[in-house]
Symmetry: C2
Subunit: 195 residues, 2 copies
DNA sequence: TTATAATATGACGGGGTGGTCACACGCAGT
DNA sequence: ACTGCGTGTGACCACCCCGTCATATTATAA
């Protein structure tokens, strides 16, 4: 958590720092991102940074939290009763939507998922937990085969959704098509068919 | 390609340099790997490195080529008539086998797949081409649904196989189980069932 | 107004990296 | 034995990074 000195700052300055963090973390992976760059982009002295934040992890977590809030606002609340498939498609569409409104945010996601520092791995594990629960519930509901490994499912999709974003670049239609294909394949692979 | 001076070196020295490269590239991503480290590990002077190689890409490509040869020897020639599924399972088992005999090699693969420098992206595209052809052929054979996007299939698996290796770490049984689950899901998702 | 506490600042030390270059070495041919 | 050329060598330059710290500045309280 940022130090109290940071929260005492003017909204304008806080925003400048947040924007600088977004700028840096949407360009380079967490492990490659540089505090010096953030400081430069934000137009604050090096010393001040350490007055506000403990280290890179600190500002990263702060940024991620704010970004998550923004994203939730864009995507809208998700329906807890919806099936896993509906959830995933919503998430995929959400990624597109966010990609349109805040391309930097999707880039942050893409770069996060291909970082393998211990810090980031923990973050991802936590963020996947929610989806794993939905899959488990859908198994009980008879929508998904019992023998399916939920962790594998979510990881397959998760990695693909972001990784593909890096490949597709700006080509949104292509991206959407690829993600839909992937989700379709996995859906076909794990669903219980009721013909 | 390394310069002629490199190939004139004694086998022992060439091996020392190769080993140093493997050591470095199995620890850090291509974009993070350091020539200084390779030089230190190999016990050769900085100047000599540039006498042998043009830059990091140069030694990387040289290393990848040698590693590929080694891997092919371990896995054995692949049967061109085998179905895509058989190929993929062979590849998965191959990854395990290589992981046992040359854990560094599998780490290189894992780190490669999560690098996103343009240089590495090109390398991956080239390496996936072969599998895409097999999928296309199996579509004609009536084994795989025509509407499936081959690129998506191979990317799903490719990314997962290596990414999971990073997560599972040394736990081979876990890794094997996860990969099998993933392949099973995708197989179920793209195959034409002939009941 | 003055004293005290909080915050701002940027130069600096210590560390790492890539690539070069002047010089040392040793071997081949005369 | 001497010359010349390919090769070996590591100090060096320019660049980047992190985190600190002594000092300057501002805000607050007395």
């Amino acid at each position: 958590m940022p130090k109290s000195t940071f929260f005492n700052l003017s909204e304008e300055k806080k925003k400048r720092i947040f924007d600088a963090a977004v700028q840096e973390f949407s360009t380079r992976r967490f492990s490659e991102a540089s505090i010096s760059q953030i400081v430069k982009n934000a137009g604050i002295p090096k010393g001040s940074f350490y007055q506000y934040f403990a280290d890179k992890e600190d500002i990263y977590l702060y940024m991620v939290e704010k970004v998550s809030q923004d994203i939730h606002e864009i995507i809208g609340a998700f329906n807890p009763d919806a099936s896993f498939f509906e959830n995933i498609m919503q998430r995929a569409e959400g990624t597109i939507k966010v990609g349109k409104m805040r391309p930097e945010y999707t880039k942050i996601g893409a770069l996060t998922v291909i970082d393998n520092s211990e810090f980031i791995l923990q973050l991802l594990r936590a963020s996947n937990k929610k989806y794993i629960e939905i899959i488990e519930r859908d198994k009980q509901r008879g929508l998904i085969k019992m023998e399916i490994d939920s962790e594998v499912v979510i990881k397959l999709i998760y990695i693909f959704v972001f990784n593909e974003y890096l490949y597709s670049g700006f080509d949104e239609t292509r991206y959407l098509k690829k993600v839909e294909s992937a989700v379709q394949i996995i859906k076909e692979g794990i669903a219980i068919h009721q013909d």
